[in-house]
């Protein structure tokens, strides 16, 4: 149920294959052999590709982004939902002061039947709307911090492995592989069971199980970009490793990572909710998952207690994925340049 790999939307290049090394293939099309070797410099008698001349300079980043958003109302909807959720989460303490876990009314008030509690109350008489509002903050906080941490670890390890290659890569790749083989959610359950569940430990645990995906992607990107001529040029100009990694390669490797990041936030929210649903979340805060978990017993009579917070999760995650799609369209050159 939880995303095992958050980058499924990019087509995965065919597995390592024995592409003949002697033929003129663009470096990025050469699937990874298990040991990194510098690709022999082969002279490609490359020659003008029949291309249609572009009329004038291509629209630049911001302009293209705007155009994409205008073409894609779904992305706009996603953005709106997300901003709304963020605002609700941010201002929940002001909008719904008081502990969302406090009992405020009769239990089992159905949504819509009491104006004071528009979304009803749960089995203990806690206000669902207040819970959902406060839960938004928790979900987004966990989602963002887990993603940030996962990105830092993943990009760091992936970049080093991909850029330096050799035994560094061999060791780090093995580490990535180990963490990828451990079934994600089982591992997550173990981690949370060990640590005392809190928003912080949940975020760390989720980062620990998601970084390998980022690392793999970053490694692949760095590997292919470091073989590009402009990186060769930087090396031939005497640039240091740090400058090459940060200033030359990273900007080009970033687009797919940004797309991944938005999807990672989504999957972190899903993971957090699943953990909380199972009672492994932070017991001191209200979370969408834990609301569903506590409503589960009353599924037969008061299914709205599960339905409503679940809907909030779906909406938020959907919004993030819509944004991820739009980012992919804007940032992934393949999706718009090959169309002729």
């Amino acid at each position: 149920m939880q995303p095992e790999s958050v980058t499924q939307f990019q087509p995965v290049p065919a597995k390592p294959s024995g592409e003949p090394p002697l033929v003129a293939v663009p470096v990025e099309a050469t699937p990874a052999p298990s040991i990194i070797v510098p690709l022999p410099g082969l002279s490609v008698p490359a020659i003008p590709v029949p291309a249609i001349p572009l009329s004038g300079p291509r629209p630049r980043g911001a302009k293209r982004a705007l155009a994409t958003v205008r073409r894609n109302p779904l992305a706009l909807a996603g953005g709106t939902i997300l901003i709304l959720m963020a605002l609700i989460g941010l201002f929940a303490p002001l909008l719904f002061p008081g502990d969302p876990l406090a009992i405020v009314a009769e239990p089992f008030i159905w949504p819509g039947s009491d104006a004071a509690h528009p979304l009803g109350t749960d089995s203990l008489g806690r206000d669902l709307l207040s819970g959902i509002a406060h839960g938004a903050g928790v979900s987004l906080r966990v989602g963002l911090s887990a993603t940030a941490l996962g990105l830092v670890i993943g990009v760091g390890i992936g970049a080093v492995a991909g850029y330096f290659g050799g035994w560094t890569d061999a060791v780090l790749s093995r580490l990535i592989e180990i963490f990828q083989t451990l079934p994600n959610f089982v591992m997550l359950v173990v981690l949370v069971a060990i640590a005392q569940p809190s928003v912080t430990t949940l975020s760390i645990a989720i980062a620990v199980v998601t970084w390998p995906t980022v690392a793999r992607l970053a490694r692949a990107e760095f590997r292919s970009i470091r073989e590009k001529d402009f990186v060769m040029a930087a090396r031939s100009l005497g640039f240091g490793h740090g400058r090459i990694i940060l200033s030359e390669i990273l900007p080009s490797a970033l687009p797919p990572l940004i797309v991944t990041a938005s999807v990672m936030v989504a999957s972190a929210i899903l993971m957090e909710s699943a953990l909380s649903f199972m009672g492994l979340g932070d017991p001191n805060v209200v979370s969408w998952g834990s609301m569903i978990g506590s409503g589960r017993e009353y599924l037969r009579t008061a299914w709205y207690m599960c339905a409503l917070p679940g809907f909030a999760i779906m909406l938020t995650v959907l919004a993030l994925n819509l944004i991820g799609d739009a980012l992919n369209e804007i940032l992934n050159p393949r999706s718009h340049e090959d169309r002729r």
Partner: protein
């Protein structure tokens, strides 16, 4: 009166006749009014740099243009006298791979990586001929032998990645000529190949042209290839034909400033000109500055350009020896007379 009349042998219709071909992508028209014909058994070369529209022209004959491309009304492509655009889907398919074969620039990516080369050749055969699987396989081996792939019985089961670039291009040729086409379109067939392999492949194409009595439409950017292998040459620039003629007179005495520029800009293997002797002749600017411009597309780069060139698109002048040139400036009476007297 009733005695036998000896008719002068004039080919009734050319094998392929392209007239006023215009291909557009939205407002952009990378091919704008190209016409030429290919006669039975000849090699016609279309030469041009990137952006000249030569490859699009070739693709349009095969009906392989990208879906966003539109052929403008009034354009005409006739094969054996039949208008290609008027053909039914089925007839058009019969034409592709049946009467017209095509090979492309990149032998690396043009073959399906997960099918054996034998299957890929056999597939072309079975599409157009009622052959059993076994017969098609046997014929595929013969075809591989025809294109000089050593040990075809063994190679037939190979996958494309097991072959070198030159061998893959031979397989592409085998596929293209599988059904004995009347016309072979070769779109930059040797650009991705090494020069010694290029010679072999061009040699092979020309030998097959004679053996299978087909015509060849050769698309290339390489003037040397054109000079060596073509019977007639069409020079394209920015979507238009600027000059046409037989290679010897064309290269000996180019009439269009662009053709002249190309010939003088390239160092020639046979002449002793060295960088220490002086710089190469340059064509200033680049082709990409063409968009949205009225008049002759070459005018901004042309040393001879006059006001008229920048205002109207020059018409194609037909000279009597079959040469054509789309430049009013350099056709003086002298050229005309020279042309008449040839």
């Amino acid at each position: 009166m009733n005695g036998p009349i000896v008719q002068p042998r004039v080919p009734a219709v050319p094998l392929l006749a392209v007239e006023d071909l215009r291909i557009g992508f939205g407002a952009h028209q990378p091919v704008s009014g190209v016409g030429f014909d290919v006669r039975e058994g000849e090699t016609l070369a279309i030469v041009g740099e990137s952006g000249s529209g030569k490859s699009l022209t070739a693709l349009s004959i095969m009906g392989l243009l990208p879906s966003s491309a539109r052929i403008a009304p009034g354009s005409s492509i006739r094969f054996e006298g039949r208008e290609i655009s008027a053909l039914s889907v089925k007839d058009a398919r019969a034409l592709r791979g049946g009467s017209i074969g095509m090979i492309f620039q990149e032998p690396m990516t043009c073959l399906n990586p997960v099918m054996t080369i034998g299957d890929q050749v056999a597939e072309a055969l079975r599409q157009h001929q009622p052959l059993t699987r076994k017969a098609a396989k046997a014929r595929a081996v013969e075809l591989l032998d025809l294109v000089r792939i050593p040990d075809p019985h063994r190679r037939v089961a190979d996958y494309p990645h097991q072959l070198s670039g030159g061998m893959r291009q031979r397989v592409m040729i085998a596929i293209a000529v599988a059904c004995g086409p009347r016309l072979l379109i070769a779109d930059e067939p040797t650009t991705a190949l090494d020069v010694t392999i290029q010679a072999q492949v061009l040699d092979l194409i020309d030998r097959l042209r004679r053996e299978l009595s087909m015509a060849v439409l050769l698309i290339t950017h390489d003037l040397g290839v054109v000079a060596q292998w073509a019977d007639r040459v069409v020079v394209m620039y920015a979507g238009r034909k600027v000059e046409q003629g037989e290679p010897d007179p064309l290269f000996a005495r180019p009439l269009h400033p662009y053709t002249q520029g190309l010939l003088t800009a390239s160092p020639r293997l046979d002449d002793n000109f060295h960088y220490s002797d002086g710089p190469l002749n340059e064509i200033p600017g680049s082709i990409s500055s063409v968009a949205g411009q009225v008049g002759c597309a070459f005018a901004p780069r042309c040393a001879h350009a006059c006001t008229a060139c920048r205002e109207t698109i020059p018409v194609l002048h037909h000279l009597t020896d079959g040469r054509q040139v789309a430049c009013p400036v350099l056709i003086t009476e002298e050229h005309r007379v020279a042309a008449f007297h040839r």
